[in-house]
């Protein structure tokens, strides 16, 4: 019931609207009730409305308005990239991107692989059923 992810300096967020859609950014300062100053290693620091941000679980330790160097160092120290890519949310996004980039031949190969996997599962199930019945 209580909130777990707070808007605070160092909170890592995902941009969910606009030009930088899908990018991870760090909240570096709060401008007013609706906007935050946001920064990332390959983005020019700028303001963004909170409605465009989805907060993540990741938080890094930075002073208010750090220099780009400090920000990058802090992100490396907290290992944001790996934490994100191993989190279930991050993994889901990676899978979505990969699926969207599938070629027609790739989609065919995926279909064959799913059928094969289903077949293997059914075989195991049949074995177990037989064991149970006996």
């Amino acid at each position: 019931m209580p909130f777990k992810r707070y808007v605070e300096i160092g909170r890592v967020a995902l941009v969910n609207y606009g030009k930088d859609y899908g990018r991870l950014v760090v909240i570096v300062d709060v401008v007013d009730q609706n906007r935050a100053l946001v920064d990332a290693p390959d983005v020019v620091r700028g303001q963004m409305n909170f409605k465009r941000l989805s907060l993540t679980d990741i938080k890094i330790d930075i002073p208010r308005l750090p220099k780009k160097k400090t920000l990058i160092a802090a992100m490396e120290a907290a290992d944001v990239k790996n934490k994100w890519e191993n989190s279930s949310w991050g993994r889901k996004l990676i899978v979505q991107k990969r699926r969207a980039a599938l070629n027609d031949f790739d989609r065919f190969k995926v279909m064959l692989a799913r059928i094969k996997r289903g077949g293997a599962i059914q075989q195991e199930l049949a074995k177990l059923k037989k064991q149970n019945a006996s």
């Binding site: 969207a100 027609d104 190969k109």
Partner: protein
């Protein structure tokens, strides 16, 4: 004439559209007409016209039309084959979108002079023979097959045109018979052409895993597939 210059550029550059740099008299001097005249004693050399071959005597026409007949304007425009989409190169796998082979995945061989695409199944894999297909009814995928071993030089539009049926007069009895014109079987030569083209292709196709099954399957949209978002 003496040997022509490689490029016949004008000695009078254009300053702006419609206005050239040098006046008539200046150009006279530039072209050296004065020098040519001096060489030929004050007169510009004039060559006698070549003796034209004698024209045959024209007969008066047999028929004069009552009304004036308009002469048609000659049309010298030549058709260029349709511009080929950059995603379609020889060896690309295409998806046919219309016609008898709708949904079939097929190998592109070359573009014919009429603009149509020459395409083959290969026949053994999916039943599509050497066939012409319009570029508009085709999706080009990004799957490419190596067709360097295939010789497609001999195929052109004439190869695919239907032969003209000779009209035979039917007697009254035969007139009411149902059509019993024999359906023409495919000439052996065309079957051999298909085999030679496909032999090379099938070798290249079997080298890639699953490609043979891919070409044998038809394409269709399933639930959730959005064509404008699919990557082909």
């Amino acid at each position: 004439m003496a040997a022509k210059k490689a490029s016949l550029t004008s000695r009078n550059p254009e300053l702006i559209r419609g206005i050239r740099k040098y006046s008539r008299s200046k150009m006279y001097h530039k072209r050296g007409i004065w020098a040519i005249k001096a060489k030929h004693g004050g007169v510009f050399p004039r060559h006698e016209p070549k003796a034209a071959p004698p024209k045959p005597a024209e007969k008066p026409p047999k028929f004069y039309p009552a009304d004036d007949v308009k002469t048609p304007i000659p049309n010298h425009r030549k058709h260029k084959p349709t511009k080929l989409r950059p995603s379609i190169t020889p060896g690309t796998v295409l998806i046919l979108l219309a016609g008898r082979f709708m949904g079939k995945r097929v190998v592109f061989l070359k573009q014919l002079p009429s603009g149509l695409l020459l395409v083959t199944g290969p026949f053994k894999i999916n039943g599509v023979p050497l066939r012409r297909v319009n570029q508009a009814y085709v999706i080009g995928t990004s799957t490419k097959i190596d067709i360097s071993g295939v010789d497609v030089e001999k195929f052109d539009d004439k190869y695919f045109t239907k032969e003209k049926k000779k009209k035979t007069k039917k007697s009254e009895g035969e007139f009411f018979d149902t059509e019993k014109e024999a359906t023409k079987a495919l000439p052996q030569e065309k079957k051999d052409d298909q085999k030679t083209v496909d032999a090379q292709l099938i070798k290249a196709i079997e080298a890639v895993p699953d490609l043979k099954a891919y070409l044998g399957a038809r394409f269709s949209l399933r639930a959730g597939m959005k064509p404008h978002e699919l990557v082909f």
